[in-house]
Assembly symmetry: C3
Homo-oligomer: 269 residues x 3
């Protein structure tokens, strides 16, 4: 049984008919598609958050998966609609940086503009290209239409504005890139970067988080510390996370996405 | 592969086991059904909002789709359970107006009461006909049982209380029928009605919204105006919407569903 | 067509990539699985609420369904990962009581520890066994691997801490075990127990709810009472529920999960 997987990510929320309309359009064109929601609770217009959540989830999907992502404040204006073909799958959405983090993780092969009206709904609205352009594109891709059929190849996609963490004198400087529903503060500091700074589990870390300073253990489980105590841990994301055992680190530490983070191993303790 | 589509809409929310119980009942009767959620975040007991969201989404589903909708404050009392057969699909739910807007858009063929206990769960509860009556009915319909097998045809369905917009002296009077998750104020004024009033994109409109007066352009994209500025636009719904570029119009303009709206083109400007 | 059903329940919420990552892992191992969400809005770390919602929903799924549940504050520490084989299906999750209520309703056959790394993701994270251990286990079970292949049988599972209601002198003492999205106060007092106390529909009941006292009818529908008036009813859960017609009983009566409830039939009225 051939069953192409199409994932959906947006900032639409789940109250309105919008997500269902996208699914209806997809099933009208490719009735055997298996549609999986990644998230529709991306903060409105927050392209960076959408890019992070998409990149995290996309990594686990089978090869050949088609990802549709719509966080699209520039809908209906000059921004292009694109398909990115990667070594692992296909990404469909606005050319505003949203797709690039996930696509670069996969390895980008080609990027095409979606320009051919043959693969759009007959009536394209001013405000809902998720339904009228991106969903039909994904469904036609799932039905076997080649990416190059949708429009011209492009070489100047919009890049997302993610900063890279740095190490200097054993101090890692990064930032909080996402706060999850538990309040875990997910940094952009990878496990590999911790190794470069010779930090390993059990070490005591000095962490500067915005204005706050913490001294916490790099734990191997939340229960390494008391209930309501803070800790650092390499989370399921593969990044350093600052958490509170059975508590909400974001609320307790007053930290949000975008906060700068500095991490350093304590010496001689 | 035959794969009947069943959609679900309710005011149940996603916290409780209720939506999953409906899906479990459907899959126990018709295991090849493809179940798609339209929305479970309809405001509690808000039949008008449910009717609007259902009608919007149903339009995009393939012919033959079976829609189950449950916003049902009268459950267990005198209100009937019905199946509406239309030119495009089938609707299952309470006879309280919830299904009628979508069904009338499709063109109604027949309406049947669900009365035959053979097509209900063995134990029908007092409070959850979504699970005990509507879900089994949808699943038996998906499995090929004809609508007339469920009970007698009826001719007096409950109609929903939607008002129609009016034009007089070039002034369109309507109302806000839905506020979406972005805060967009969706009116019941269609693109066709704007044409009747000789209003087209680029025109400056005077809008009265409850107590507030606005002078805004009928835009062709949100980005036609500055960030945080209001605009009018024919949205993805096909209706006139009052929005704020990258902002929440409902919060900024203090408007909610039910607010009266008057729209008039400015002259000589 | 063989289409194994896998359900998911968690306290992850729907904002983050976590639920999609679980689905991606499942589909990578068993591409024909049909994945149904029970709820991802379980209150963070609330094992009792998760156990209740799982037990309610699981009852309606077809035989052979595989249920994955993750409310797992002890992830990465000493708690075991388990598979429970019952007369009706399979349960996969942490050994912290979460699965036991549903599994005991079905009738438990065997419990196995998940210990064989062959059936886990290659890299098991510290914090996300839902993705790295439970989802692969469910997918391998769906693909036909026998439960005993995952690890040793165990006989000392952690039991959940649910109290049982009691009858003395015609007074039933129980507690609120769940407050649903409508604000309905669901007790642990079953219809059968009401019968033991000779309580039937139409009877007037004295109810003590925390500090409050109510005198309400055991109704046969919400509409048996005025709008905004309280009532008692045997709900869709099969338990006695305290509700308010078209209102939120939890807010109006100031009651939450865990509140003690006493119910007694009035005499001579």
């Amino acid at each position: 049984m051939r069953r192409p997987i199409i994932t959906l990510l947006s900032d639409f929320g789940l109250k309105d008919p919008y997500v269902a309309e996208m699914k209806a359009v997809i099933l009208s064109i490719c009735k055997e598609a298996l549609i999986i929601d990644i998230s529709h609770e991306i903060e409105k217009f927050n392209i960076r958050m959408g890019a992070f959540v998409l990149a995290q989830a996309a990594h686990y999907f089978p090869e050949g998966t088609i990802h549709v992502a719509v966080v699209d404040p520039g809908v209906g204006a000059a921004r292009r609609a694109i398909i990115i073909e990667t070594k692992r799958g296909l990404y469909v959405g606005p050319d505003n940086g949203l797709l690039m983090l996930a696509a670069e993780n996969d390895g980008i092969s080609h990027i095409y503009e979606i320009a051919n009206p043959k693969y759009m709904l007959k009536r394209v609205s001013r405000t809902f290209h998720g339904r009228d352009i991106f969903s039909p594109a994904a469904a036609y891709l799932a039905a076997g239409v080649a990416p190059r059929m949708f429009g011209p190849e492009i070489h100047d996609p919009v890049k997302p504005s993610f900063s890279s963490p740095e190490i200097r004198d054993g101090m890692i400087s990064g930032e909080i890139i996402h706060v999850d529903g538990f309040g875990n503060l997910i940094t952009n500091i990878s496990e590999k970067m911790l190794k470069s700074a010779e930090i390993s589990e059990g070490d005591i870390l000095y962490i500067r988080l915005g204005e706050k300073r913490l001294k916490v253990r790099l734990a191997s489980s939340y229960e390494d510390v008391e209930i309501n105590a803070p800790l650092a841990i390499v989370g399921g994301t593969g990044f350093l996370e600052i958490s509170v055992n059975r508590g909400n680190a974001s609320e307790i530490l007053g930290a949000r996405a975008g906060f700068p983070v500095e991490v350093k191993k304590t010496e001689g303790e």
